[in-house]
Symmetry: D3
Amino acid sequence: MFAHNKRLQYTVRVSESNPGLANLMLEQFGGPQGELAAACRYFTQYLAEDDPGRRDMLIDIATEELSHLEVIGTIVAMLNKGSKAQLAEAVDSEAELYKNISGHGNSSHVTQVLYGGGPALTNSGGQLWSAGYIDSIGDPAADLRSNIAAEARAKIVYERLINLTADPGVKDALGFLMTREISHQQSFEKALYSMQPNFPPGKLPGKPEFTNVYFNMSSGEGDARGPWNTEPTFEFREAEVAVDGGSGLPEVTMTRGEASVSKQAAARLASDPDSNPVTGAMLGMGGADPTAEGIVDAKAAKKKAASSQSAKRGSKTT
Amino acid sequence: MFAHNKRLQYTVRVSESNPGLANLMLEQFGGPQGELAAACRYFTQYLAEDDPGRRDMLIDIATEELSHLEVIGTIVAMLNKGSKAQLAEAVDSEAELYKNISGHGNSSHVTQVLYGGGPALTNSGGQLWSAGYIDSIGDPAADLRSNIAAEARAKIVYERLINLTADPGVKDALGFLMTREISHQQSFEKALYSMQPNFPPGKLPGKPEFTNVYFNMSSGEGDARGPWNTEPTFEFREAEVAVDGGSGLPEVTMTRGEASVSKQAAARLASDPDSNPVTGAMLGMGGADPTAEGIVDAKAAKKKAASSQSAKRGSKTT
Amino acid sequence: MFAHNKRLQYTVRVSESNPGLANLMLEQFGGPQGELAAACRYFTQYLAEDDPGRRDMLIDIATEELSHLEVIGTIVAMLNKGSKAQLAEAVDSEAELYKNISGHGNSSHVTQVLYGGGPALTNSGGQLWSAGYIDSIGDPAADLRSNIAAEARAKIVYERLINLTADPGVKDALGFLMTREISHQQSFEKALYSMQPNFPPGKLPGKPEFTNVYFNMSSGEGDARGPWNTEPTFEFREAEVAVDGGSGLPEVTMTRGEASVSKQAAARLASDPDSNPVTGAMLGMGGADPTAEGIVDAKAAKKKAASSQSAKRGSKTT
Amino acid sequence: MFAHNKRLQYTVRVSESNPGLANLMLEQFGGPQGELAAACRYFTQYLAEDDPGRRDMLIDIATEELSHLEVIGTIVAMLNKGSKAQLAEAVDSEAELYKNISGHGNSSHVTQVLYGGGPALTNSGGQLWSAGYIDSIGDPAADLRSNIAAEARAKIVYERLINLTADPGVKDALGFLMTREISHQQSFEKALYSMQPNFPPGKLPGKPEFTNVYFNMSSGEGDARGPWNTEPTFEFREAEVAVDGGSGLPEVTMTRGEASVSKQAAARLASDPDSNPVTGAMLGMGGADPTAEGIVDAKAAKKKAASSQSAKRGSKTT
Amino acid sequence: MFAHNKRLQYTVRVSESNPGLANLMLEQFGGPQGELAAACRYFTQYLAEDDPGRRDMLIDIATEELSHLEVIGTIVAMLNKGSKAQLAEAVDSEAELYKNISGHGNSSHVTQVLYGGGPALTNSGGQLWSAGYIDSIGDPAADLRSNIAAEARAKIVYERLINLTADPGVKDALGFLMTREISHQQSFEKALYSMQPNFPPGKLPGKPEFTNVYFNMSSGEGDARGPWNTEPTFEFREAEVAVDGGSGLPEVTMTRGEASVSKQAAARLASDPDSNPVTGAMLGMGGADPTAEGIVDAKAAKKKAASSQSAKRGSKTT
Amino acid sequence: MFAHNKRLQYTVRVSESNPGLANLMLEQFGGPQGELAAACRYFTQYLAEDDPGRRDMLIDIATEELSHLEVIGTIVAMLNKGSKAQLAEAVDSEAELYKNISGHGNSSHVTQVLYGGGPALTNSGGQLWSAGYIDSIGDPAADLRSNIAAEARAKIVYERLINLTADPGVKDALGFLMTREISHQQSFEKALYSMQPNFPPGKLPGKPEFTNVYFNMSSGEGDARGPWNTEPTFEFREAEVAVDGGSGLPEVTMTRGEASVSKQAAARLASDPDSNPVTGAMLGMGGADPTAEGIVDAKAAKKKAASSQSAKRGSKTT
């Protein structure tokens, strides 16, 4: 069961109203790397976790993330507090109010017009938060790695917000929130590596003939080698089709009935490769005889284009 | 630039039509842990990556994931090939066709009715693929960890599909795809750890007084200790408000005009704590005098309920 | 700041594994009327609320909804606990496991294959939770009404789940959760009506000539009268265009430049009403001369169709 | 069946092209509180409603909301009419056109580049309209409350738009649309209260021992009392776990096979609380010996930090 | 199987950093008419296509679209390359960095703060890419038409971007990408019309009495005639209900049990048309006696309003 | 302005309750090819259309599609009418009700539990309707093609539903709805081709050297030729990089400051290709010495695997 104390985990001090900055802060409130995503991620894992140690850790951190959601949401609310009342009470002229909500160079107009200045569960561009942001799949060797990565991402987004914030109180609180991501990442790392073995995750081993192969799928200038595609870990191989030694072509066995009806459908829907049909595009070429069609002499056009290419670049007709 | 060879990277052999199994396979085609998500993840990172080694690795693996998308999509297409034609040609009765699409105990009806048996970019429940599944943020210390986690998740989902698949050819191809996730995870691990330091990610250090603290936010039975909340890495502390030493209460400085209009809004919208208003709910209690309201004697009700609780459990009136 | 106690607000007792029932329960975990939506709704309102009474009430109820999210999520986890391990350990045959996840007649396969049996933030059909479910707009006269409605909806969905649940422990816990929605609705009602006036919400009055008019937009059999469209509250009027007394046709004043370029675009894109062009559809009618086109004699066809209608209904050719 | 008259229900007069204002107006076209949501809400309820009075009212209002969708969409179209042609015909330079679509301080560039100046079913930030905005659940005691709340929200968003609009013709039409929400709310209120009883919604009564209890889940400064948590309606209680009198701990009965395989999974996936593993984070600390790990002396750091806190606030290193 | 060459299909030359322009380019990277949508559209059709000619064409074009995705994504990356490092390294002041990300008059702040300057799979407003953009349904007569339309849309969006771009290298590359859409449209047209017949799509004929009827559903000023509603193709008819000759009223046969329980539900939920209930709105009118209710004399108000209408238009009180 | 007649455009007669069939019908109510999408598509185009003929046609067809939405929604409501009341009144046992909602082999449980048997704006799998389904972009040469394609798709989905429906009244109404799509497609075709020229859409011509080129991007078995890649329309060319004659490598000119900070970021984030770091995966291999790492001898493993491949296929260990 949750309980709440109306004091924050970290004190929020805001120097002045700033709806533009408020809007950027939404990134860590309702954005994909934000605190709601973090809290939901750990809380849902907690519910299904059987290991006592991980279970306790997950709910400790989930509860702290909820408390961080409150801190970042409070920052948004404080930064918006002045502008919120201005739009609600409308004591200024329409032109001034319009300028107020549009003059921040970002999407803060959505926060004002639609959400009335309240912290909304969107990112800084107004994209609604979605549970698609949460990648928990119910296996600790995968989920702990997902948590480690999530903390790393949240740390970086906080760092960017800190770099963009001149208000000292907001900067200070963001610094705390960023720091806790570092701490949480370390907890998840300890939990992962105290479960042995944890690689490869799951129970099934890989096919040994492909577990340590690196396929060079992209050729040409820029090919590089490093520990990620080199011995002793990897056998480096050029890309090839049908690495299983088969034909590389799909097969399916169908019943006689299925095969027959498939054939029937194929016949009904066949394109005739030997036709040269009049098309809708030809009908739409305007004025030209739709039954005749001269190929644009592409080779000639190409030569001509090449010779005049530098001149033409950027011209109105492309 | 991409090029394509019409042979698959791994040969697909399907024993018989099986639209129900086809539908499950969509999880790795258009699901959150599937191959499209993987390919898009690495490809978009590639485009913005400046480090030559990582850049090459990312496009190698992105290209292979596209080739895996083709393999898993081909499995779906082969498993659906028979049923697809049956619905299109409608040689069977309505009742038989209806049974065909509804008899698989999962959401395969969507694949048949809406997508005509083609592989659709949805998961096995019909949820449309969304770029919200991709968590790249443009920092390699975060993105490589995200990639490691993504490979771990994909490995597990393939393992589950393998456990559910009796068709030997499908099982074999799934085994290949699962194996490659193990290999790719190892490449991303090598790339991460050959970048030093990579922890904490980013450039800003944390606040040292909070970097190695573990807050015990959840109390009571089940509290556990382990390396994730213990020395030498962590100082274990009980939860407390205002860890910064402040009041824990938010503050904002507003201009005089903002403060005045805020006060005006607050007055207009104040709730009167000393009133006892008639409410809409009271009006809707049906027959009762809406101006009178007797509290359900909750304490008495509770005692009575407690005494009869075991009997009542599960009864129709809850 | 939030804190957590590892005991639940209400004890969850589950009689037996039941993944099908678990899946239905997701409706109140990650569905639109579920507990996450409720908690987020009140918590975000709390952050921006200035009225001390409402602020306290909102966080009290938000915290309780989080605790309910834990109860319903725990029910899901317990109902899935057996099947989760079966798929992870794969001690049964593929055929048995496949039957296990597909045999529940609902979308529980998604929960098993994708989420590994953990409670996922989706509804019972696998639709991902979205912040689009939360309709808070930052005005208490609107938000309290939204909260009242949300509690009413949640009460009904719980009632449906109770009607579908034979497990007595699950039924008992659902009964508690349903009951709390009734209580919360009453709190929101009291808060709304202790703010006076609260209707119409906001500050601007309506145009008096349209505030109490009911337009009869749908004619014909089934027209009904009741207090919702009758005196003394309403003037009942037949639908009419341009109720403002104007032309009902839109106008815009453009600059000379805008008008000229608009005219230019219109000319470029004009359809010729006097033409009878050959179309793509005509080209695709197969074998017919695409330059000739005989209208299907629709009137004759209609008569013929009418005479044979009862016979034809339901026939294969529609 | 619907029919249409090409005159509007209310005449739209726009003074000048204004793509920025056009974009804000989208909030009530394709936004969550907009007219499409309203029309769909009442229309879908109508289809399933059996009560003749409500049925007629729902389709009357749905039809009027469709007519309002036309009014607000026409406003958008008129405000964009000039800029739309400018981009299509490209008679101005690239720089001027770029400035045109980017100079409005809100997201109007999406409307221009993607939608070509036509009214799109998005909100003012470009978020696509989703049926997740519609909360109908097929019970009139819930749906009528949802409708009442929806009308209240729409009224407020129109009020905000009116406050932001200086164009007199647009302001006038918005005033009409806002007024009709007031009227519709009154109709839904009459319909709700003419159904008795309507509270609690549905058929099942609550558990009497919890129906009128208020749990004080949030403690500390700011606790407030009011009619929403006070007698005569409510018994005020402090939060407690396991209010049912049980243990507050979840239980599930599993078959012997399920229990055994659960135990097997738990053993395979157990974290060792007594280990102190080397972790990935430690490997990434750069240069440090990954097998040694000195705890940052968090307590000392904390003291030091506290003493220098006011100075450090806002500094570049956080 | 896919392979990759690290050279682009078309050379990208960018004159200077321009994050605002970068953001607009996202429209064709992760927007609905962009290259990912195109590639996924043709690739998924390829997987299920049996006709050898169409199958080859689909994968040729899908592979080219992937290569175009790389070109447009590279343009985004180059335009963002400078600003990306500035935010990551934070060598400038907070104020300068804030101005940098907010000064472009569009949603580029999302690209910078959330995605770190990398090409993200969103449109230019930050809306996440969704598979809902892909409309393939597994029938070639429908899918080829969808492809033709998709190419036409992509051509137009490229044209708009070209009109907005002053950078000659970017404009040149956009010109290439736009041109290829023209070419691809022609291929899909040829493929459609070489399948005969292709209209109407599918196998079932329409009901002949309605196949060539045009219903005039919208009356009044602006009614127009043209080849789309005129002989020889169409019979022009005024709208009418129940064109089948029936009652136009729905019927369902229910079992006796269903009918009885339906009647029971209807009785429980009936609204009383003869009541005049006190409503929540009346309770909220503030100070007024909630049991009395005087109708606003709407007709009188209307007259008064009409007389003062021109004066009032645009005034603060609406 | 819209008006409504409470009779349907086509009479709906349903033989018996059938919630499973009801659920399939949602595909054309709230699915991507359904009637809401159609109505919204044409209605939004209407609002921005200036051409008088197209404008009238668009609103005629939009209004008819709304009337079709009513027909298909009524079918859903009738098919669900019995089951809806059963769940609301709960006169049957929990087990019977559970079986009722789960026994249809598709996702009908969502319709019952969440939407109470009412027609919901989802597809048959519960996916919420989204405006992402609408592809209008404000250019008639593109939008008319999109409309043609949309009608073709809707025709096919109706055909599939007809093939699955045994209820004669439902089948008859579906036949009408399908037929109207054929008619509407013809209208849009006439409108497109009466606008000349309409190909290529838009105003800018393509680059002539690439307008009629077909690149053969996919090689190998299955290469096919047809009118879509052949003279006289197309020049057939093998895929090549940098078709512009450049290097195929991206370039950007940055300011000195940008270049310097980019270099700084690159140095900070460089991976060392000559290292062979210990990785997290190595730490997780369980028991093995994490500082040693023997490559799995992939070549040897491959040979061994090949020799035993047929035996191993389908075995538990993959």
